[in-house]
């Protein structure tokens, strides 16, 4: 398109050893809704951050309206008419709705914040977006999550931007809000604004966008009009190989010994009933949508959140779930991988070796003294087995890429030699190569006679890897059935709880 409002060519950006972008290009015309498609970690968010002035690209050229564009800081981007709606909410919890919408561009008279004007304009924008019920004077921390996102979107609308960048704007919206958002996007596009749109939902993307760019490993690998491109073609471009080759071949479990049995687990307010058992050598999948209680179930079982009732039987010994502590569960041979890698899973400033051996330091200690050489050696075993790309075991985990961090977190459970692995979203937010390695490692653990509980919101990996699958819906876990008896649509039906 010759009249491109925004043109990016050959953008490159690295963070330490991690290459985030390496030759990303993109072009958008005025009034166009452009989908930016790619796997997690492909560099979509980094590219938008460069556009919004949050990051400075190392190489490449950006052009806005035919002029060279190199924002020094976010204020520059805003002044040049670029607005970013971030996937992580960037609101001010202590400020009001009106203040949040006008922060950085406050209506004022001689330095005095014009509260009345801010309130009035906020009402206009909220009405335009179809949410007149949100009070401009409400403190944002008092709003429910979807309403907060509405506020964030209204900030871009109020800024009257030329290019609006939307990074997963619908991830916490209900369908009616998605419809409203799409109506606003169409209105924005109708008035000549260019919209760059990131979403994981391909169908939703097709509904709103006309053109697309696919990023893989930081590089533009495809693009064009969406209408003439099939989903299979898009996925092939995203993944770089067919999806089937991702999952290792698995032998059915030979043993019928039950490693873990949970009955009637109740952990209000979310978990309203979960019963399941895991056999030796088996991978049990648990699928659930956001808020279904899938994570809460595992946390209650592991003693991280309080449970009200239910029994758990490990190694033939039965006890109440209530009152269990993580230390106790670790002692019983349970291992836990948190879905929140950075917040809870890893100690980021510590080394690979410290992180991997943390739950069983005793294996590398004598009389309470840590044997560094042995710790390094044990770590090395799992670093090689999992294919962690780290220079040395002493390297801080912080300096590894997301995929390698996740392998370290998983390696900890292997070092711990846990009998039962409780894995919560083990492949969230990591690149496709690391995903394949993690699938392989989990399958190998099952083949060694471990029992695995794999919680995920990504259905293809559960169907591709697990022996049996149970579905969590509104706090209740369905009975587990062999994967062959499920289909994507029957799983979704159970998840929505229709």
């Amino acid at each position: 398109m010759s009249g491109a409002v925004l043109r990016l060519t050959g953008i490159a950006k690295r963070f330490g050893p991690t290459v985030a972008l390496d030759g990303a290009s993109l072009e958008v015309g005025p009034g166009e809704v452009h989908a930016l498609i790619g796997e997690n970690g492909a560099g979509k968010s980094t590219l938008l951050a460069c556009l919004a002035g949050l990051l400075k690209p190392e190489r490449g050229a950006m052009e806005l309206g035919g002029e060279s564009y190199a924002p020094a800081f976010p204020g520059d981007a805003r002044a040049r008419g670029i607005a970013l709606i971030h996937q992580e909410l960037s609101l001010f919890p202590h400020l009001t709705v009106a203040e949040n919408i006008f922060v950085g561009a406050e209506p004022s008279r001689r330095g005095l914040f014009d509260r009345a004007a801010a309130r009035r304009k906020t009402r206009e924008v909220l009405a335009e977006f179809g949410h007149p019920e949100i009070d401009p004077d409400e403190r944002v921390s008092h709003l429910p999550l979807p309403a907060r996102q509405v506020v964030e979107i209204c900030r871009a609308i109020a800024a009257r931007a030329r290019v609006v960048l939307m990074d997963e704007p619908t991830s916490s919206l209900q369908r009616p809000d998605v419809e409203r958002l799409f109506a606003v996007i169409r209105r924005l596009a109708g008035s000549g604004v260019a919209v760059i749109y990131i979403s994981h939902f391909l169908e939703e993307t097709r509904e709103i966008a006309q053109t697309y760019t696919v990023l893989r490993d930081g590089r533009t690998v495809g693009g064009g009009p969406l209408a003439t491109t099939t989903n299979d073609e898009l996925i092939a471009q995203m993944v770089g190989r067919t999806v089937d080759a991702l999952f290792p071949a698995r032998e059915p479990a030979a043993s019928t010994e039950t490693l873990l049995e949970v009955r009637g687990l109740l952990a209000p307010p979310v978990v309203k009933g979960a019963s399941f058992e895991i056999r030796r050598g088996e991978i049990l999948g648990v699928f659930g949508l956001m808020g279904s209680g899938r994570t809460e179930t595992v946390r209650a079982l592991f003693g991280l959140d309080p449970a009200e009732s239910g029994t758990v039987r490990v190694r033939g010994r039965e006890g109440p779930v209530r009152g269990g502590t993580p230390a106790q569960r670790l002692g019983q041979g349970l291992g836990y991988l948190s879905e929140d890698r950075k917040g809870e899973g890893l100690a980021l400033p510590l080394s690979v070796a410290d992180n991997m051996t943390l739950t069983r330091l005793s294996a590398c200690a004598r009389a309470g003294l840590l044997d560094r050489a042995r710790q390094r050696e044990r770590t090395q075993t799992w670093v090689s087995a999992l294919g962690v790309k780290a220079r040395t075991p002493d390297q801080p985990v912080r300096t590894l890429s997301g995929g390698n961090q996740q392998k370290v977190a998983l390696g900890r459970l292997f070092h711990q030699d846990a009998d039962v692995l409780l894995l919560d979203e083990p492949t969230r937010g990591i690149d496709i190569g690391s995903k394949a390695q993690i699938y392989e490692a989990v399958a190998a653990a099952a083949a060694r006679g471990k029992g695995v509980l794999m919680v995920s919101s990504y259905l293809p990996e559960l169907l591709g890897l697990c022996d049996r699958l149970a579905v969590m819906s509104r706090g209740r876990l369905s009975p587990a059935r062999p994967v062959s008896e499920w289909s994507p649509s029957s799983v979704m039906e159970a998840a929505i709880g229709a």
């Binding site: 919890p93 203040e99 922060v103 914040f113 403190r139």
Partner: protein, 322 residues
């Protein structure tokens, strides 16, 4: 008018209740409420509050903006020495005071430069300044108190003002006017709202085009001016410049802000609350003295009250979010 609409009224009036409780408690315990509540005692308490109150105005800005300043006590000592040296050298007292106030601003600016340019967290940057400012004060004062001829500056923070119709010391009135002014600045100016935005979510503030580094320079420098003025009041009360004075005053100042509803994680707090906090501390100290309790009792009491105030605040917040 309200800076945080729809907050439960309990959150807003909490500090007032605390202050009223402290006053009532000591009035009863002292057995002589008419003395504890007398106009004279009120004058004593208010004159004693001036230094901490001025410090708390500046500290409120910093804490609301998500920062902290541990160098307040040292800054007060340094600026009290500067003011005394200026008067002793024979310059106009007003000029000496101005220099002291500006020195406070300079100390704040240096703190902010360490925070924004050297990327040192505020806690450490100002901990360093705590030592530097104290050292410079002793150096300038030649390690002794700086005595000078009496001037009108000595009357700024006296208990019984001259002329009598002022009722309270001039320093009290100065504090009241500045507190009102800064309350308006924090609530009703673009600058003030950006301070809240900075403390509430710094990354988002940057993304919204706020020049956060420059904002921090302004916040710490402005706060420094208040610490400098507190130094002038300190000199006025002692009638000399003392490089060893005000050790630990930063803790009283921070405690005032926190008791008044300020959150050390930023985004929350207000001048009015901080003033109530400063008064609460002053009434506590005064009451303990009137009861004849030894100094250590005061210290224990104040320590416990700071922790309780914050714990109570957490508790109320948790209930509200639920």
């Amino acid at each position: 008018m309200s800076e945080v609409p729809r907050r439960s009224w309990l959150l807003a009036v909490g500090p007032f209740i605390g202050l009223a409780l402290v006053i009532a408690l000591f009035a009863v315990m002292s057995g002589a409420p008419e003395r504890y509540l007398s106009a004279n005692n009120l004058r004593v308490v208010l004159a004693q509050t001036v230094i901490v109150a001025l410090g708390a105005i500046g500290m409120t800005l910093i804490i609301v903006g998500g920062g902290i300043d541990l160098s307040v006590g040292s800054t007060i000592a340094l600026t009290s020495v500067i003011a005394a040296l200026g008067i002793r050298s024979g310059g106009a007292p007003a000029m000496a005071c101005l220099w002291a106030v500006l020195t406070g601003g300079l100390v704040g600016l240096l703190n902010a430069l360490a925070i924004t340019r050297l990327k040192v967290v505020p806690f450490i940057a100002t901990l360093g300044m705590l030592g530097v400012a104290r050292g410079v004060a002793k150096w300038l004062a030649d390690q002794q108190t700086v005595n000078m001829a009496p001037t009108w500056v000595n009357d700024l923070a006296v208990t019984f003002p001259n002329p009598e119709w002022l009722i309270f010391a001039p320093g009290v009135w100065i504090s009241v006017v500045l507190a009102l002014l800064m309350a308006v600045v924090l609530r009703n100016t673009v600058f003030g709202r950006r301070v809240f935005a900075l403390g509430s979510n710094e990354a988002a503030a940057r993304a919204c085009g706020i020049a956060t580094d420059r904002l921090k320079l302004v916040i710490y420098s402005l706060a420094g001016l208040f610490f400098g003025l507190a130094g002038v009041m300190q000199m006025s009360r002692l009638r000399q410049g003392d490089p060893t004075v005000a050790i630990g005053t930063e803790l009283d100042v921070i405690a005032s802000v926190v008791i008044g509803g300020g959150s050390l994680s930023g985004g929350e707090g207000g001048i009015l609350g901080s003033m109530i906090g400063a008064l609460t501390m002053a009434f506590l100290r005064n009451g303990s003295q009137q009861m004849g309790w030894p100094n250590y009792v005061q210290e224990i009491l104040i320590g416990v009250i700071i922790v309780m105030a914050v714990a109570l605040d957490r508790f109320r917040h948790a209930r509200q979010e639920a």
